[in-house]
Symmetry: C2
Subunit: 400 residues, 2 copies
């Protein structure tokens, strides 16, 4: 199948592109390389060194014999994405091409506006390009479980049957997103649902949980094929941070009560889920929502797992100031059967996975920048004073 | 009370500014004058001639003795709106300053993107300006009943209690907006709800129905104070169109089955509702939603009322091609008690109101452009060929 992978230079886009290419699909990576620019802006780096996109693609062809094409450009440039869709004639488009950090969107006004314009306009342009070029192209779009927020009822997959005052309807599931980034994904979902209805597009919205891990079958073939491992306060995720803290002998930092519970999945399951969505496409006019996670854990549970698995003693620093505005103890029960029904075989989070992540950190220990870990963005303030690579007193709670 | 009226040069913004000024509030109109530019772009005009903003303000001060200040600029220019908020030190801001036509947003990609960026970024900038200048400023924002779409259950005011699998929560009411314009209002509402939660802003979201009428106590004082009367296919509304068709002896054009039912209100009730919201502000951190309409009618019912009231015989052209994608017969029952509880005394749609509207059309009959009435924007197409002021074969169904 001819597939465009938008954001194909990023943490998940790159391994997805390789995985699909390895399965024999004809892949074009589309990326504006902005993820690398965010690193420079924040003064941080992936723990694992990443090669240039050109080197990545050359190495992949050398090893696998599969050519991955590259188009560098920006989705907010309508002429660019129209031309790419027209030229490549894809049957499907996987859309990872958005700013995906909640803290980044909460830095200040400029970053909030950038995130919403970049994400919403990029997806609008893409939908129009599909509608005007070939409305049968299947759009597989990455959303987030964070779109739902944390309601006190079960979370369903995109839609919920509501009985109210004696009448019943199936309606879009109510959303309570927790950052301007999460809001941008909610806006995207609403725009896409509408485009499917009025133009007969076909789309799958993958409301993904928090992804952990860095190792996939394809990226493990050579260090040049490696994908990112982010542990910094802005783009990093919690399990990565805990592994870095454990390996470097620092207490695991649990913000607030630690009862924040999140759907999680292994990076290999991201690849499997996207593949399942592509190879079992939505119908014309269908806006399909899958909740893409395999297990759920509280932040406290994750800290305890890392503590237990770590070969050296490690403390948990609990009750730290929570930079986010969120429920710290809440109900969480979310449906995730649709991808399993398509055949997903989950990789669960066991001791071996955590050990593997800690071994990865150990191999790159010399690249750890502990100053990158302390939260720099405060939800309650509309304008954060970002403290990036320079040493900062805010990092003092990481003291050994 | 010091109040900014954003979009204070528009159809509703202008009479609202006068009404509030007449009640003794200290009013600053903020506008980028783009509404007048849309007319030039579409090749249409308000049926009632409108004076320049400068002439309007001078005439109002001459008649009433109240000075209304003016700031011309664009909400997407953050420096502008920050400066205006800092300089004027308002206690409240009424926000009419958005692109408000569904067909305009559906013309093509450029207009969809323009509408969403203009509306969403304008409101984001405004929220940040409030948060960083004085978070106690009460934001009164115009939304639309069209945010809800047409579910098969009762529509509540912003939130709904849902019992699901044995658990209960009060959640944002699910939205099914019907155009990129309506979607922009949904995006705004979600962004505002979040800002109230994380920054402690206070906001009232007025989900307004379709407004009819052009006469208010203040605008009737002098022709220079008149507000717009739009009947064209892009910015006009259905009751205005029917009045123009009836007076000029053309059949009333009912699109589709005509069962499309909408919440409606008289322009004087818009003024009353905004005043009630301002004078009974939301609490800090509160995101309050009022459904702002007084009655509901189907398109068919409206056509029949106009037909009955018109002194000369008039036909109803039913079953015309519907340019929109919408349910043409549907359940509609929406709550609207919150504004009544604050004291709203509705002006209902009676024969006298329709007679008044037809007399208004009669007085300006020489300005009617029948070519402006035929629909030019087709929801099912992502790219409309706009037919504006030039004679067009699409206007042939208006034949006498």
């Amino acid at each position: 199948m001819k597939i465009l992978v938008l954001g194909g230079d990023g943490y998940l886009g790159w391994p997805t592109a390789l995985h699909l290419s390895g399965r024999g699909h004809d892949i074009t990576v589309v990326d504006n390389l902005v993820r690398r620019a965010y690193d420079r802006e924040m003064g941080v780096e992936s723990l694992v060194p990443i090669a240039t996109l050109g080197d990545r693609v050359r190495k992949w062809e050398e090893i696998s014999g599969h050519a991955v094409k590259v188009q560098v450009g920006d989705l907010t440039d309508a002429a660019f994405i129209y031309a790419v869709v027209a030229e490549c004639e894809p049957e499907a488009i996987v859309h990872f091409g958005e700013q995906r950090s909640a803290p980044y969107s909460m830095i200040d006004r400029e970053h909030a506006v950038y995130t919403q314009v970049n994400n919403v306009v990029g997806t609008l342009n893409l939908m129009y390009a599909i509608a005007e070029t070939d409305p049968s192209i299947h759009l597989v779009k990455l959303g987030t479980m964070g779109e739902y927020g944390y309601p006190n009822i079960d979370i369903e997959e995109g839609f919920i049957e509501i009985t109210h005052k004696g009448r019943t309807d199936v309606l879009p599931y109510p959303k309570q997103p927790g950052s301007f980034y999460h809001l941008s994904k909610v806006h995207d979902s609403a725009n896409m649902m509408f485009a499917c209805r009025v133009w007969g597009l076909r789309a799958t919205d993958l409301n993904q949980g928090i992804v952990y891990g860095q190792s996939t079958i394809e990226t493990d073939l050579d260090p040049v094929l490696a994908t990112r491992f982010d542990y910094d306060a802005v783009f990093g995720t919690v399990l990565n941070r805990f592994c870095v803290q454990a390996v470097t002998g620092h207490p695991l930092t649990v913000y607030g009560a630690g009862g924040q519970t999140r759907g999680m999945l292994h990076i290999r399951d991201t690849l499997a889920c996207v593949t399942l969505a592509l190879e079992n496409p939505a119908e014309r006019s269908e806006f399909r929502v899958f909740n893409q996670f395999t297990e759920s854990f509280s932040v406290r549970q994750m800290a305890e797992m890392v503590q237990r698995v770590c070969p050296t003693p490690v403390d948990i620093a609990e009750g730290l100031n929570n930079p986010r505005v969120e429920h710290e103890e809440h109900y969480f029960h979310a449906a995730n059967t649709k991808l399993r029904d398509l055949g997903l075989q989950p990789h669960l989070l066991d001791d071996g996975v955590i050990t593997g992540m800690m071994e990865l950190v150990e191999r790159h220990r010399g690249r750890v920048d502990l100053n990158a870990i302390a939260p720099t963005v405060e939800w309650r303030s509309s304008s954060s004073i970002l403290k990036t690579a320079s040493p900062s007193s805010d990092a003092s709670f990481l003291a050994v």
